[in-house]
Symmetry: C2
Subunit: 155 residues, 2 copies
């Protein structure tokens, strides 16, 4: 009884809503990266997408959505601006159902440029929060993602 009064610091309970806190931080962090990338007309999300296409492409939209932990329909939508800008291209896949997403030469150049900006933003975040704190955050996020396999909580 009255475990919270105990002098022994037991396993501490989370206060507040994890989702809300995550969103708060996401908003702030996104603004930080976006401020850096705005100069070259890219959103942070677009940089992430472009980077993944560069690193993993050519690959099917579905596979890309899975590794990026996003819905397939979200990927279709997010691909559109990059497609319109000519930074990625979508071609028929081996299978009649699938497509193949790959980066273009223009896209490569854009991504190189963006990568420099991203570096500045990341360094700025590391400096503001402290490298150790950012590392700890990454570790926690990675562990959490590994534990949250798609739709398996509470079943």
């Amino acid at each position: 009884m009255h475990a919270r009064r105990s002098p022994q610091t037991g396993p501490q309970l989370p206060r507040g809503c994890t989702n809300f806190k995550l969103r708060q931080l996401m908003r702030r962090v996104t603004q930080h990266y976006d401020a850096e990338l705005a100069a070259i007309g890219l959103k942070t999300s677009q940089y992430s997408l472009l980077s993944h296409v560069l690193k993993l492409g050519p690959l099917a939209p579905g596979a890309l959505a899975r590794v990026m932990t996003m819905d397939a329909s979200t990927l279709t939508r997010n691909l559109k601006p990059l497609l319109d800008a000519g930074w990625v291209e979508v071609r028929p896949g081996s299978d009649g159902r699938t497509r193949s997403v790959s980066i273009t030469e223009t896209g490569r150049e854009k991504r190189t440029e963006a990568h420099r900006r991203w570096r500045v933003a990341q360094d700025g975040l590391n400096a503001a929060l402290g490298t150790g704190r950012v590392f700890a955050l990454h570790t926690l996020i990675d562990e959490s993602l590994a534990l949250l396999e798609p739709g398996d909580i509470g079943e």
Copy 2:
């Protein structure tokens, strides 16, 4: 040179993009909460907003946006569905420029119902990730938010 080969584990450097990782986790976590709240026709974001209006209201939209770490225009937009549903109301503020947002009786009932669902979702997350990990995550997020005052990074 070759610090990474050193047997001494120095301050570890973050790998990858903090923004991308945060977004990945946010997507998963939001899906988890939304799955629970869907039964009563609420999104997690709406639950957070309703809860803040309950706890802090009546208050001005701008003040609400600030405490929730969101843009004022986002708040205006997010308020609309709750207004349409009759869960919150917006009335003229003291100042001719400001408004006053407050929860309605229907909104109170809805929030009570939603709170029970939220509890289930939060408990499920705690169970899936481990209470200690969730607590650690909260702590890191809170510290980070405190360090990331609006638009002061890199200036």
